[in-house]
Every structure is written in structure tokens, then in C-alpha cells.
Amino acid sequence: MHIVDRRLNPRGKSLENRQRFLRRAKSAVQQAVKRSLQSRNIRDVLDGGEITLPIDGLTEPGFRRGEGGISDQILPGNRAFVEGDIIPRPPGRSGGRPKEAGEGDGEDGFRFVLTREEFLDVFLDDLELPDLAKRRLTETEEESPVRAGYSVSGSPSNIAVGRTTRMAMMRRIALRRPRIQEMEALRREIGECEDDEKRLALEAKLKALTEKSRRIPYIDPLDVRYRRFESEPKPVAKAVMFCLMDVSGSMSEHMKDLAKRFYLLLYLFLSQRYKKVEIVFIRHTDKAEEVDEETFFYGPATGGTLVSSALAAMRTIVAARFDPAEWNIYAAQASDGDNSYSDGTMTGQLLRHEILPLCQYFAYIEVGEEDSDSSVSRSPLWTLYEGIRAEQVPLSMRKVCRRNEIFPVFHDLFQKRDAQSKVAP
């Protein structure tokens, strides 16, 4: 008899089949993913998850019998019936055939789990980054060698001396190779020794030690280690995403939540397209500051509202850290639309002449209270931006009031477009 351990065999043998299945079910999966999004929050989306698929189009048909015929059936466990009894059919079921064996888990609408990658792929599949000019660069990647530990083979120029001597020392200690000092001392002792008998014994000992040290070399080929390098693709094009948010008193928790969802989606989306995405959080009241994520979403702040301060801060950061020649710059601004009356001109100037020329895309999301009607209000900021948008710049804007509107809005903003058409909707 043979026993074979197959546990270490390549895993995911069915991966290919699974992908074929998903490809085939693509439209159905897309529908299902969108449906499942509405009932989930974005953190869960990141984990992928279970979706329910209608089985249409994925049936494997076969010649089967339909319903309505005469049926004979043998069943176990009779307690009450005698021959000739008539059992009335349960109401509402014609052709009362008891459920057939093996019909247990119906396949209509069967549920299964998508991995995170699969989920994101499907989720972002029909979306496209606006302004593809720089994005092309992402496809030409540079490879650069990166240290990746040690290996037992390699070219002589890569010998890791330190590691090699360390391995040699470990081996020498483990195998108890006689130390040179020890043998020196022995030799000295022999030289000084008067007693013949004792000297013979010492010489024999020295001989044994010499032999042992010959058997156990100081450095063995086994000890040699080489530095190992792996080449790591290095994206040439990098993306940075600026999240600008108004945190003044008029922004409620609900509004912040909406904004956060939008940022998360944008981040997800960008990280799917770029290897490296930096995020910069800028919050502002009447003055702007760059903060970490935690503070950005949850840190308390009060004050007036000066949108221009955030834009100015963004400009400064870009100038300092993100050279527009090298970085793709995206910005998403969320606000309830309030702005100090005197700040309008300043904001418009900044946006039009400083920020937009830097950006691949600038999305403005105006968030409102859950019960408000997004279509009627005209906030100062909205009016201002609308004016700018007329000039064919990479700026788009939407209003959002309810959570379940976030995804449609996002989807709408980043829809795949013809290469020619301009970004601004």
C-alpha cells in the first residue's frame, strides 16, 4: 500500500474553474455585487463577501421529467395507513408529488463567497479613471532589485561575508572544533613538559585535536551564504489623493459619514489602479490643517468656514511633496456647501488657477442631512463651482443625502467614458 501526502500539493486547483465560472456569470455577479453593496457598509466591502446569484444562464440543462404525471413512491415509516386509504392532498398543490429525494438544497439563487480581490474586481470593473494621460505610465514599470534575505547559491560577488562567517562559527561550535588557542597552549605545554610519559599523552591529545580540526574545516562550502535580490516592480506613476473636508460646526456626523464613504470608495478605486497611493487628509474650518485619518474623521473641531484655506493648504503640500510631473493628483472635497461669503472669490481663484491645473480630477461632493432634498438647495459653494465647471475643467460635483446614494454617485462620476469625451459631466 502507498500513503501519499497530498496536502502540500498546489492549492486552488479549482481556481481556474472558479474564474471561468465568474467570467461566465459576470453580469449576474455584477448585479449581485451592487445589490449587496446597498445593504453593507464599506469596511465589509473591503473583505469581499457573500453574494447571492440567480441561477439563470448558469443552468446546466438536461432531459428531465416535468410535473403532472402519475407517480408511485415507496416511503418508510408508516404508522397509521392501511391499504386503500386515501390521503387528501395538501391544499394549493396540484399534482401532489411529495418532494423528491435529493431536491434538498434548491439551486435557485445560490449563495457563495467572493474573495476580496474578486469582489473588488467586479465592483470596480466598469469604472474608469478620468484623464488617462498620465495613467499610461503605470503600465511601464521599472524593476529595481530589492534585498530579500540570503540564499545558498548565487554569484561570488554576492557572498555575504558576515552571514557566512556566522554560519561557519555556528557549525564549528556545534561540532566542537578545537580552538586554535587551545592547540597553541597544548603545544607550549609539550615544549615545556619534562616528563616523557606525560608528553606522549599530550602529543597524542594534540594529534587527535589536529586531526579533528582538519576534519572540521574552518569554513565549509556549506556555510557560504549569498545575498539574495528580488526585483520589485516600481511604479513610475504614483497617485496621491487629497481628502478635503469641512469640519466646521455645521457638518453633522451623518454628513461626515457620507464623506467618509466616498473617500473610502475613491481610495479603493485608486489603489486598484495604482500600485502606490498616498492619502493626504486636510480638514478645515476657517483654517486648514493636515491631519491623520483618525483625527480627520473623528477629531472634534469648531469654527467658521473658509474653503480657500483648505485649497491653499493643498497647494502648499503639492508644492512641497508631490511634483505634478511625477504624481497623479486626485482630490475629493466634501462639504455641506457653506462658505464664508467673503471667501467666494478667493476660493474660485485658487481652484481655477492653482488647484485644477494640478489635478487629474477634482470631485466635489456636497453632503446634506438625510431628510433634506438634495435637488433644491443651492449652496454658495455649489453655485461657485458650477460656474467654474462650465469652463471644461476636470471638476465634477454631486449632491448626496442618503447613504445608499453614495455608490450610485461614485459610479456615475467614474463611469467608463469614451476616450474623447471630456470628464466634466
Binding site: 500513503i3 501519499v4 479549482s14 465560472f21 432531459f63 408508516n78 391499504e83
Partner: protein, 516 residues
């Protein structure tokens, strides 16, 4: 109980942990009992330890270790996995493959007792059945199956490279849809031996001369066959019609198929044929394996090779396996082949060793023969589910399972008739009916290709013989016919015919685009 004499050394293992030497010991101990005491005859065993994920893999590709790629296996994987993850269903403890060497998969999560059970069940029970049952001997080639699957896999992969995944998938989809009608159900005619034929012809003539009676001449003859009739018959004969193996017919006669498409049909047909015996012997196969593991485990315990605790663990899972809920139980979903098979095997053992008067009357051939194993071995070799139940379901077991027969005619307004129960009048009827439920020829709709209009529009004509008003399911039939038409390349007509040979219903399909 021999607890005192049960020294630690005799035990095959202790507790739930196992390692590879344990498996070896367990296998050897089982082998000793299986071959030495039960007289089983098995293929060499190969035991493979796999993870649960690999078990799911194996599940989804119909249990085979290597298989060609197709989206439907991905679908089944997703389906099984979803159930497994939510804890709604356990994985099977084992999968065993009818091949030589006989490969049994063991899941790494199983406890030592479970591994022993699985080895006894699969590596000896199923293995013996595969090697000795006549259906498997007739239709499957245990030595060649793994090589064949390997060939199939690489062949289909090569086709995908050459003709594109889409084309191959279309062909495979179509072939899968017709898979259930891609098997030879009968061994078929053996080659005609002319000398033999001549001898038979002579015997026939002698016989006719002996029984000649001039009066037969006066019996009015049937309708004279016209020239058209004869032509039709000739044409059918040339095409081998009627033919119930649709895939075979297409492979040989579809005019527009490419050679590689024929090969794919052939592969699917071979796979279907390979699994056909398994479909026909579910109850017997599981019954045999369960009976064998039960005997082996009991012997191991008697010999002190399994501790009391581990034996209890075994009894618990054994009881789960052979549990048969009653018809009104929420867990009921038809007969459990393990339960029915095991009960019948045990019943046969009882009839052979300790028969009652009733048994002697019903089973004169085997009652009181004394050697249960030899009787069982013969039965395992010579029967399939349908004939097995028809022959060996005893009144005793019918009473024990309290079987009854429901006859449901939708025309009958009042309800469903209890037409037989476990009493003197019912035994034979119940037995006949239950055996029929395991007759593939009765369960699968009988569809034949009957004619091709070669001179005209090359329309393919199929017939479905409707029994008991069971017509084909519309939606599915439409889809299958579409696949069939795509393969055939011309129009396809399926007629449903009732018992009086009237055409009651027709389905047609035209090819979407010729498969080129």
C-alpha cells in the same frame, strides 16, 4: 470485555491523533481482516491525505483527481464551499476512485478512528465492490482511467489553445447537456461470427421443418411493405438507428462537426460511461462498504486493537451514516442509500445464518446456507440496485422499515392512494416498486434518435416514450435541444409519444450558427 488482556501494545492508536505510521498500521490490520477473514478481493490501495480545500476541489470535479477545465466545476465548487463555510453541511469523510491502484482520499481533519473507518469503508469495501461487480468489470477500465483523464485534460487544454476557449466551452456545454444520454445501456451485440451464424440458421431451418403446419399459410398476412418502407429501414440500419446514445450518434454521424469536437464528445461520453455503473449501484456500493467497515471495526475491537472509547466514537458516526428518517420527519429526503444498503446486507446475513420459516419460503437458495460472506460476495458481484432490491428485499425488512406505497394520480381528485403497505398482500408490490425506483432505465426519460431525413432537410428526429404522463420539462428540454441542434448542425425535432404511439407534444430547435 477483555479490558485486562487489552495491552497498550495491541492498540493501533491511542486517542484521536494519527501520523503516517498509524495509517500504515491501521491499513495492515484492516487488510488482515478484510482479506483473511472476509475473503475480499481488492485492487492495490493508495491512500492520499488531503486538506478540506482539496476535498472540495475533488468534490466539484465529480470526485476525480484530475479533470479538464470547465466553468460548471467552478460553480459546483462555489456552491459546495458556501454550504461548507456556513457549517450547513459536513464534507464527506472520504472519496474513493474506481482505479487501480484504488485511490482513497482521507481528510487531514479526521480523527484516528475516522481514518480507520474510512480505510475500512473505502479502501476495502468500495474497492472490493469496484473490482468484483459485473457492471464495473463490463464498463470501466480501472487500470486506464487515470491515464485517460490525463489525456482528456491535456487534449481539451490543447483544443482551447488552438480553437479558443469559447468554442471549446460551447462544445463542452452541449456535450454536458446530453451527458445523461451518452451511455450505452446494454453491452450490445457481439460481433457476428459467420460460422456460428450458419450453424444457427441450419438449426432454425430444421426446427421450422419439424413444426411445419400448412394451416399457417391461411392466416391473413399484415400489410405488405412498400418500397419506401424498405428504403427507410435500410437507411436506419446504416445509421444504426434507433439509437439511445445520443452523444455516440453525434460523434459518429453529425455532418458538420470538426474532428476535435468529435473527440470532445467522445471524452464526455467516456466519462459518462465510466460513472454509469456508479449510478446504478448506489445502494449496493454503499451498502457493501458500510457492511465491510462495520465488520472490520467490530473485529478490530474484538481483537483489542481499538480502545472502547474509540469504538464508541466509531459507533456514533456509524449510526449517523446509517440513519434513515421516516417519511414524516423533517429530515427526510428520500432513502438513504447507506441505510438501505446496510440494512439489506445485514438482513441477508441473518437469512443465511439464522433464517425463519418465512425466509426459507422466500429465499430458498440462500436461507440457512451458513456462510454469510460467500453469499454476500456472490451478490455483490452479480447484481445492481434494481435487481438486488427486486431479489433480496425481504418481508422482514419491509416490516422493519414500515414501508408503504403511495400511488398519486393527479386525475384522482380525492387524493393520494395508499396502494400497498407492509403486509402479506403488499410485500411483493412494494419490493417491485422500490426496485423500479432504482432502475435507471425507468428513472431517466427514454429518448431515442429514430430518424434522419438525409434526402431532405437533414432534420434529426427524436422520440420520447412518455410513461405515466410524465412529459419532459419544457424549459430544460428547449435548452438541451438547442445544444443538440448546434451540434447536429440542422433542425432537430423531438416528439413525445404516449403509450398508444400517438404524438402528443413536439419540441423543435434550429441551430444558432453552424459549429464551424
Amino acid at each position: 470485555m477483555t479490558t485486562t488482556s487489552m495491552s497498550k501494545e495491541r492498540l493501533l492508536f491511542n486517542g484521536a491523533d494519527w501520523d503516517f505510521p498509524t495509517l500504515q498500521r491501521v491499513h495492515d490490520a484492516c487488510e488482515e481482516i478484510a482479506l483473511g477473514e472476509l475473503g475480499l478481493d481488492v485492487y492495490p490501495n493508495q491512500i492520499e491525505v488531503i486538506t478540506s480545500e482539496q476535498m472540495l476541489d475533488a468534490y466539484s470535479s465529480t470526485g476525480m483527481p484530475l479533470f479538464y477545465r470547465h466553468w460548471s466545476f467552478g460553480k459546483h465548487f462555489a456552491h459546495h464551499e458556501a454550504f461548507y463555510r456556513r457549517g450547513m453541511r459536513d464534507l464527506a469523510y472520504e472519496i474513493v476512485i474506481n482505479s487501480s491502484p484504488c485511490i482513497s482520499y482521507l481528510m487531514e481533519e479526521n480523527s484516528a478512528t475516522m481514518q480507520t473507518l474510512v480505510i475500512a469503508h473505502a479502501a476495502f469495501g468500495h474497492n472490493h465492490f469496484f473490482k468484483n461487480n459485473y457492471l464495473f468489470q463490463l464498463w470501466t477500465d480501472a487500470d486506464g482511467i487515470l491515464d485517460y483523464l490525463n489525456f482528456a485534460k491535456s487534449y481539451i487544454a490543447r483544443c482551447e489553445e488552438r480553437y479558443g476557449e469559447v468554442e471549446v466551452e460551447r462544445t463542452l456545454d452541449a456535450a454536458h447537456a446530453l451527458m445523461s444520454h451518452g451511455v450505452h445501456r446494454h453491452a450490445g451485440k457481439t460481433k457476428v461470427d459467420l460460422r456460428d451464424e450458419e450453424r444457427r440458421e441450419q438449426e432454425r431451418r430444421v426446427h421450422e421443418e419439424q413444426v411445419f403446419n400448412d394451416l399457417w399459410r391461411t392466416v391473413p398476412a399484415g400489410k405488405k411493405r412498400t418500397a419506401a418502407d424498405v428504403g427507410l429501414e435500410k437507411r436506419r440500419l446504416a445509421l444504426g438507428l434507433p439509437q439511445d446514445n445520443i452523444l455516440y450518434f453525434l460523434e459518429k454521424s453529425a455532418p458538420l462537426l470538426q474532428p476535435w469536437q468529435r473527440e470532445i464528445l467522445r471524452i464526455v461520453r467516456h466519462v459518462a460511461q465510466y460513472f454509469h455503473p456508479q449510478r446504478q449501484t448506489k445502494v449496493m456500493n454503499e451498502g457493501t462498504a458500510t457492511y465491510v467497515h462495520y465488520r472490520i471495526m467490530n473485529r478490530l475491537h474484538e481483537r483489542g486493537q481499538i480502545s472502547d472509547g474509540n469504538f464508541l466514537e466509531f459507533l456514533k458516526s456509524h449510526a449517523n451514516v446509517v440513519f434513515q428518517p421516516n417519511y414524516d420527519d423533517r429530515r427526510f429526503s428520500g432513502f438513504n442509500p447507506y441505510a438501505l444498503g446496510f440494512a439489506m446486507m445485514q438482513d441477508i446475513e441473518r437469512i443465511v445464518t439464522a433464517p425463519t420459516e418465512e425466509d426459507r419460503a422466500w429465499f430458498p437458495d440462500i436461507a440457512g446456507k451458513g456462510d454469510a460472506m460467500s453469499v454476500l460476495r456472490d451478490i455483490w458481484a452479480d447484481y445492481r440496485d434494481e435487481s438486488f432490491i427486486n431479489q433480496f428485499l425481504s418481508p422482514n425488512l419491509i416490516r422493519q422499515l414500515r414501508l408503504f406505497h403511495l400511488y398519486d394520480d393527479p386525475e384522482q381528485e380525492e387524493g393520494i392512494l395508499v396502494s400497498a403497505i407492509h403486509d402479506e398482500r403488499g410485500y411483493r408490490r412494494i419490493r417491485r416498486q422500490l426496485s423500479r425506483e432504482y432502475d435507471i432505465g425507468w428513472i431517466d426519460p427514454g429518448i431515442d434518435i429514430v430518424d434522419v431525413d438525409l434526402a431532405g432537410d437533414r432534420r434529426l428526429l427524436l422520440r420520447h416514450n412518455v410513461t405515466n404522463d410524465w412529459f419532459l420539462q419544457e424549459a430544460d428540454t428547449k435548452l438541451v435541444l438547442q445544444h443538440l441542434a448546434n451540434l447536429w448542425g440542422y433542425e432537430v425535432l423531438l416528439q413525445e409519444i404516449d403509450s398508444s404511439n400517438e404524438v402528443v407534444k413536439e419540441h423543435t430547435a434550429s441551430p444558432r450558427k453552424p459549429l464551424q
